[in-house]
């Protein structure tokens, strides 16, 4: 979670002074032209596409059922479709790893959406209106940052997942969403403060635009790009967060298939069979890496000063 704090230092994007730029190109178009030439972006994007495909249609990658386990195959080596072998319960490790992508991506996506909406609204309100509202909201963000993320998440997830019948998906989404919006709010606030002083906002106000129109049509589109970077990286962090909560036993449970659960279950048996521990770990780390790299590449494209 520490990398998010590195991101907070990213300022609102500005035009690059030393870069030739075509007059008819928007900021996003400019960034896209930059992104297209970035190797890191294409590697990260390819990884993300594979993971999303895996999450949406796992049957594209394996025809085996991750819950079809036979103790007779305990710790058996690779055979046929089961290229990673079988774990201590005789489940197909490859199938389990592929199906593990679904809940991870679903949870991280929903949680990031929640965090994004809260963060953007709080940051927009605090930055645009300023004054006492800004003071109250900023203090509240400070208070939330006073609670180390995992500690707060454990308490909340434990409460939310007390229902024994649920598989914990909703509980983890709410937990990660409710606790993850602070950085987005801070970045949004500073971007809004710098955007609202621009001439085009003053021009729109002179033409009679109300605060709602000013905020959502003029300030928001020009202040959103650093938040998008933060949210992309937050996606990766939320995937890691889901795995950590599931590992600790307050995340996904029951019949859910998750990388975190797989790591927790197979860890104690690693001495006899390492593959069931190694493969979910590799997939998890690669997915987190893909989102962090994607965020880094987008930030570089939007903010050339940081290079």
């Amino acid at each position: 979670m520490s990398d998010l704090n590195a991101v907070t230092t990213a300022e609102a994007p500005g035009p690059a002074p030393d870069r030739p730029r075509r007059a008819n190109r928007s900021l996003a178009g400019d960034a896209w032209a930059d992104l297209r030439t970035s190797k890191v972006f294409w590697i990260a994007a390819a990884l993300v596409v594979i993971v999303v495909l895996m999450a949406a249609w796992p049957s594209l990658f394996t025809s085996a059922d991750p819950r079809d386990c036979l103790l007779g195959r305990k710790d058996a080596g690779a055979s046929g479709g089961a290229i990673f072998g079988f774990d201590f319960q005789g489940c197909d490790v490859y199938a389990k790893t592929v199906y593990g992508a679904r809940d991870s991506v679903l949870v991280a996506l929903c949680a990031t959406l929640i965090a994004g909406v809260i963060g953007v609204l709080v940051g927009l309100a605090a930055g645009y209106f300023g004054g006492w509202l800004d003071a109250v909201l900023s203090r509240f963000v400070d208070i939330m940052l006073g609670i180390p993320f995992l500690l707060g998440a454990i308490v909340l997830a434990k409460r939310l997942s007390s229902n024994p019948e649920s598989n914990g998906v909703l509980a983890v989404i709410v937990t990660l969403g409710v606790l993850g919006w602070t950085t987005a709010a801070r970045v949004m606030r500073s971007a809004v403060i710098s955007a609202k002083g621009q001439d085009y906002v003053a021009a729109a106000r002179m033409l009679g635009a109300g605060p709602g129109r000013l905020m959502f049509r003029h300030v928001l589109p020009n202040a959103i790009s650093p938040v998008i970077v933060v949210l992309t990286i937050l996606l990766g962090i939320n995937i890691a967060g889901e795995a950590t909560l599931s590992y600790l036993g307050v995340g996904l449970k029951g019949d859910a298939v998750s990388w975190g659960i797989a790591i927790a279950e197979t860890g104690p048996y690693a001495r006899t069979a390492a593959a069931p521990l190694v493969w979910p770990s590799v997939f998890l780390a690669a997915t987190v890496l893909a989102f962090i790299m994607l965020g880094d590449a987008i930030r570089d494209a939007f903010d050339p000063r940081l290079r």
């Binding site: 500690l151 308490v155 600790l248 036993g249 927790a264």
Partner: protein, 308 residues
């Protein structure tokens, strides 16, 4: 300086009440009947209900309950775990090994991050810099649940370089692998901040002056650049403590180190609610106090901070 300290202390009071209130509110969210949750499926008789209410003040309002909780925290009474042990006693037994582990990992992280960060900051774009940047990216992407079990598997079991677990009286050698794992959580950010800040400071006027005076490069880097570059790294320590606390829960669980994180890990596994809440509250307070100290230290090191 005095006004800064007073203002920072007032902020700390606000954050303390706010953070404990949020933790308390999170804990009580969506629970209809905590007594029923405590006893499970059996019906609760009226006399049991009365006895438990008297003990836990559950029949009072939310704010009254929060008051009892705060009073306990401030007087050092953290309650009892479900197994009947005093949480204060468990904490005092668990702290020593956790503090040793944390100090070791902070030292390892600082030495590696500052050493490598200075080197890559000096030769920006060189081979060493590129390799370090790629390595830090990979480390950043490794969640602790991946890092700790894999390190135990590879270095503890397969290669056998380190003991795979550490006990209560673990020495330096036993704690080295867990401390490396824990430290690597914060190495990447510390290294990147050091690198950027060294690269920026190398262009500063005072560096040019120092070079013009004819000082040896070793002295320019070691004294002039390093001292000014470390200031932003020090602010990171406050944030890093929070990361280390989160990391210690998994790391101590994996390596079987009976510290604070291990107790919390076991409390979560055994559904011991009071233990989890007691430990989390204490850790949040420790985090706030350390951040206060870091801020004050920071202001003492850099006089510009006080006159915002």
């Amino acid at each position: 300086m005095f006004r800064f300290i007073v203002r920072r202390l007032l902020q700390m009071v606000l954050t303390f009440f706010g953070a404990t209130f949020v933790v308390y509110a999170l804990m009580f969210a969506y629970v209809d009947d905590p007594l029923q949750a405590l006893v499970g499926d059996r019906p609760v008789t009226d006399s049991q209900r009365a006895a438990l209410n008297a003990r836990y003040h559950l029949d009072e309002g939310f704010f009254a309950q929060y008051w009892h909780y705060i009073k306990g925290l401030l007087t050092g009474d953290f309650g009892q775990s479900l197994t009947g042990r005093s949480i204060g006693d468990m904490l005092s037994q668990a702290w020593p090994v956790t503090i040793r582990l944390a100090l070791l990992s902070i030292v390892i992280a600082a030495v590696v991050a500052i050493g490598a960060g200075v080197l890559s900051g000096i030769r920006r774009g060189g081979v060493f810099d590129t390799v370090t940047l790629v390595l830090t990216l990979i480390v950043l992407a490794m969640p602790i649940v991946v890092l700790a079990p894999l390190a135990q598997l590879v270095f503890g079991i397969q290669l056998g370089w380190f003991p795979p677990t550490a006990g209560r009286n673990a020495g330096l050698y036993e704690l080295l692998l867990p401390a490396l794992v824990l430290g690597s959580l914060v190495i990447a950010t510390e290294l990147r901040v050091t690198r950027t800040s060294v690269a920026e400071n190398l262009r500063a006027d005072y560096v040019r002056t120092a070079k013009a005076k004819g000082l040896a490069p070793r002295r320019v880097i070691g004294v002039h650049v390093l001292r000014n570059s470390l200031i932003p790294v020090i602010t990171l320590i406050g944030v890093d403590i929070g990361v280390l606390m989160s990391g210690a829960i998994v790391t101590e669980g994996v390596f079987n180190i009976p510290g604070v994180g291990f107790n919390l890990f076991r409390g979560i596994r055994t559904e011991d609610g009071p233990l989890v809440v007691g430990f989390v509250s204490v850790l949040v307070i420790v985090f706030l106090v350390i951040n206060l100290i870091v801020d004050l230290l920071y202001a003492a090191l850099d006089p510009r901070i006080r006159y915002e």
